[in-house]
């Protein structure tokens, strides 16, 4: 590269930077979750929201979405153009979403039994009551999918159909970097030292899966992605979500890491929730398993074993050409996916 060329590049970059600064100058707050919703149930930090769609699905059970504990569920409704919830509402009349909230010091002693047999169970009951239906269809996402699998195994009569999205089942596949990194962490010491596990530690762990791409590269590319206020807002919504990692209730987190990441509970059939064993063979409901081919957090190899491990005779899987988050924030991808989900639920 000649000096003139370098000067020109520098000038171009500086212009883009200036434009990006102008784009964000008018932004005061970053609004997310634009789809109207109603709070129908709350218990401690947990909230259950109802979304009302225009579609007529008479006789169909409501769809309850169980999101992960480690991130915030508004990724499903980041903005109106690429909202997974809004796209689902084009097909469904009633959607319910669990927001686990932000655990604080008082929630340290919550364990998976509390999350599954108390909170999740109450959400299922609240959904049934609100919709006046005997059973619900459950959609679990990522870690929320793992919780949903446990719940369905323990409370089979309450769930008609189960959908898992980017859900790890085999936590010990060779390409699962997160699992390799978590395997030797002294989780008891971590819980002792911090009580609740700071979201910042988890965020650091997620970023360490692709440090250059998610660090300096993203920062350098940022001005080009913020050339208009709309682009800037869209970029910042995503940034907000990425950095919004709630702290994790200490005992529940310890149990989750030990049971799934370190003991590979589903594969070794050693998952105990409360006083009962949760075995995937107990799941006989129709099962739709969705995973993303370019998922760096939950590789397809971690999700696929559900087919062999579950007791369902009606198993369907969909592999989407996307990343872990792209599944929910790419308008094009989630529009098509919502159609497939609705089709499967009605079938």
């Amino acid at each position: 590269m000649s000096n003139t060329s370098q000067d020109q590049q520098l000038l171009d970059y500086q212009l883009k930077l200036g434009q990006a600064l102008r784009s964000i100058a008018a932004i005061d707050t970053i609004d997310v979750a634009p789809t109207p919703r109603t709070l129908i149930y709350q218990q401690d930090k947990l909230r259950l929201y109802h979304y009302k769609g225009k579609a007529v699905t008479s006789g169909q059970p409501p769809l309850l979405i169980c999101y992960a504990l480690v991130n915030r569920p508004y990724i499903l409704d980041l903005d109106s153009e690429r909202s997974f919830i809004a796209h689902l509402l084009q097909h469904r009349s009633d959607i319910y979403l669990i927001d686990w909230g932000y655990p604080d010091a008082l929630d340290y002693a919550l364990d998976l039994d509390d999350y599954i047999n108390d909170y999740l169970d109450h959400c299922v009951e609240a959904t049934q009551t609100h919709c006046d239906h005997d059973s619900v269809d459950l959609l679990g996402i990522c870690q929320g999918g793992t919780l949903s699998l446990c719940y369905t195994a323990l409370h089979p009569k309450k769930i008609r159909k189960l959908i898992t999205m980017v859900t790890p089942v085999d936590f010990n596949t060779s390409d699962n970097l997160l699992s390799h990194l978590a395997e030797k962490i002294d989780i008891s010491a971590l819980s002792r030292a911090y009580g609740n596990i700071p979201g910042q530690i988890l965020n650091g762990l997620f970023s360490s899966l692709m440090p250059a791409r998610l660090g300096i590269h993203k920062a350098i590319q940022a001005p080009a992605r913020m050339q208009t206020p709309q682009q800037a807002l869209s970029y910042l919504r995503m940034e907000r979500w990425i950095n919004d990692c709630p702290d994790q209730a200490g005992m529940a987190f310890e149990q989750f890491i030990r049971t799934f990441f370190q003991q590979n509970g589903f594969i070794n059939d050693c998952v105990s929730i409360g006083e009962e064993r949760a075995c995937l063979k107990q799941i006989t409901q129709p099962l739709l398993n969705i995973f993303a081919s370019q998922d760096h957090l939950v590789p397809p190899s971690a999700s696929r074993p559900l087919k062999e491990l579950s007791g369902s005779a009606d198993y369907t899987e969909i592999e989407v050409n996307s990343g872990h988050i792209g599944l929910f924030v790419s308008g094009k991808v989630n529009q098509q996916l919502c159609q497939q989900i609705d089709h499967w639920l009605k079938s």
């Binding site: 590269m1 370098q6 000067d7 590049q9 520098l10 970059y13 500086q14 930077l17 990006a20 600064l21 964000i24 707050t29 970053i30 609004d31 997310v32 979750a33 709070l39 709350q42 930090k45 909230r47 508004y74 909230g101 604080d104 010091a105 340290y108 002693a109 509390d114 108390d118 060779s174 970097l177 390799h180 990194l181 395997e183 030797k184 002294d186 010491a189 971590l190 030292a193 911090y194 009580g195 700071p198 910042q200 530690i201 965020n203 692709m210 440090p211 250059a212 660090g215 300096i216 590269h217 920062a219 350098i220 940022a222 910042l236 940034e239 907000r240 950095n243 919004d244 709630p246 005992m251």
Partner: protein, 306 residues
């Protein structure tokens, strides 16, 4: 050129800072009212300084290059990356693992690769000096430094491997059209080298040891703090957590009892329904028998009359 770069760096950091402020400002979620305890305060967030540190270091290198006729050799680049990675990693670790400021100062003074000139000019932190001198804390601090040194050798290998990949890529695809393209290529090469390294058992072991040593330091610091606080008659966090566990166990026991009550109520309802059904059958049979008896009496009376 140096002035332009400085201006560029300033603008870049200004953009980053504003992005952080916006992204981490109190939530603009429509339903998350603070009184319900579900919104976080922006004070809990501290901007991640890692990209700022890295950018500063790169800008310094570029400034040096633009002021002289030097060209970059792979060795210079490797040294440069290692030199900026080490302190950046230290800062990242301390921030990520939320180690108290005094503790952080105590560690960074002894860290390998710690080359922050501003720290040397800073006045000595008495608490940090005290921590360094505390015998019970020293083993945790030493283990952290050893773990960090081992971890840095992996980063060195990644940096070397990245440069090797970059050289190969440049040979194959030729000179990139722009600095941004070169940076993208470097990112690809780095991620490839990183992926190869992190899947090695040795890396995973050293990574876990680094994380565990951070935890150990935090635990060690907490332990000293708790001893001091309990000496003042204050409740320790360990006691607080034990109480929370007991309270949660009581809640669970209550939940199980409520579940039992619900089950018993259901059984009672079933029995009651069954009992009512039996009563109804009995009533029906009794009324049939009464009718038959009445008919028989009438028959007897009728025959007696005749």
């Amino acid at each position: 050129m140096a002035e332009e770069l400085k201006q560029l760096a300033d603008q870049f950091l200004q953009l980053q800072q504003r992005c952080w402020e916006l992204a981490l400002s109190p939530a603009s979620l429509p339903d998350d009212a603070p009184e319900n305890g579900s919104t976080r305060s922006s004070n809990e967030y501290q901007p991640n300084e890692i990209s700022r540190t890295l950018f500063d270091a790169h800008a310094r290198l570029l400034q040096t290059l633009s002021n002289s006729d030097k060209t970059l050799s792979p060795e210079t680049l490797a040294d440069h990356f290692q030199n900026i990675t080490s302190p950046a990693l230290s800062r990242l670790l301390l921030e990520q693992w939320q180690l108290p400021a005094s503790l952080a100062t105590a560690i960074t003074k002894e860290q390998p690769g710690s080359e922050n000139p501003s720290q040397d000019k800073a006045p000595p932190d008495p608490l940090a000096t005290l921590i360094r001198g505390t015998a019970s804390f020293a083993p945790a601090c030493n283990r952290f430094n050893q773990a960090l040194a081992r971890y840095l050798t992996h980063l060195e290998a990644i940096n070397q491997h990245t440069l090797h990949n970059l050289e190969q890529a440049l040979k194959e695809s030729g000179q990139p059209g722009s600095g941004l393209e070169l940076e993208s290529l470097w990112t690809d090469c780095y991620e490839e080298a990183y992926r190869q390294q992190v899947f090695k058992p040795a890396y995973q072991k050293d990574y876990a040891e680094l994380c565990n040593s951070c935890t150990e330091m935090k635990e060690s610091f907490n332990s000293q703090l708790e001893t001091s606080l309990s000496g003042l008659g204050m409740v320790s966090s360990a006691t607080f957590r034990q109480n929370l566990i007991r309270q949660q166990q009581q809640k669970k026991a209550m939940r199980r009892m409520q579940q039992k009550i619900r089950t018993l109520q259901e059984q009672l309802d079933t029995m009651s329904r069954s009992h009512q059904h039996q009563l109804a059958e009995f009533d029906s049979e009794r009324s049939i028998l009464r009718n038959e008896l009445k008919a028989l009496r009438e028959l007897v009376l009728d025959r007696g009359t005749k």
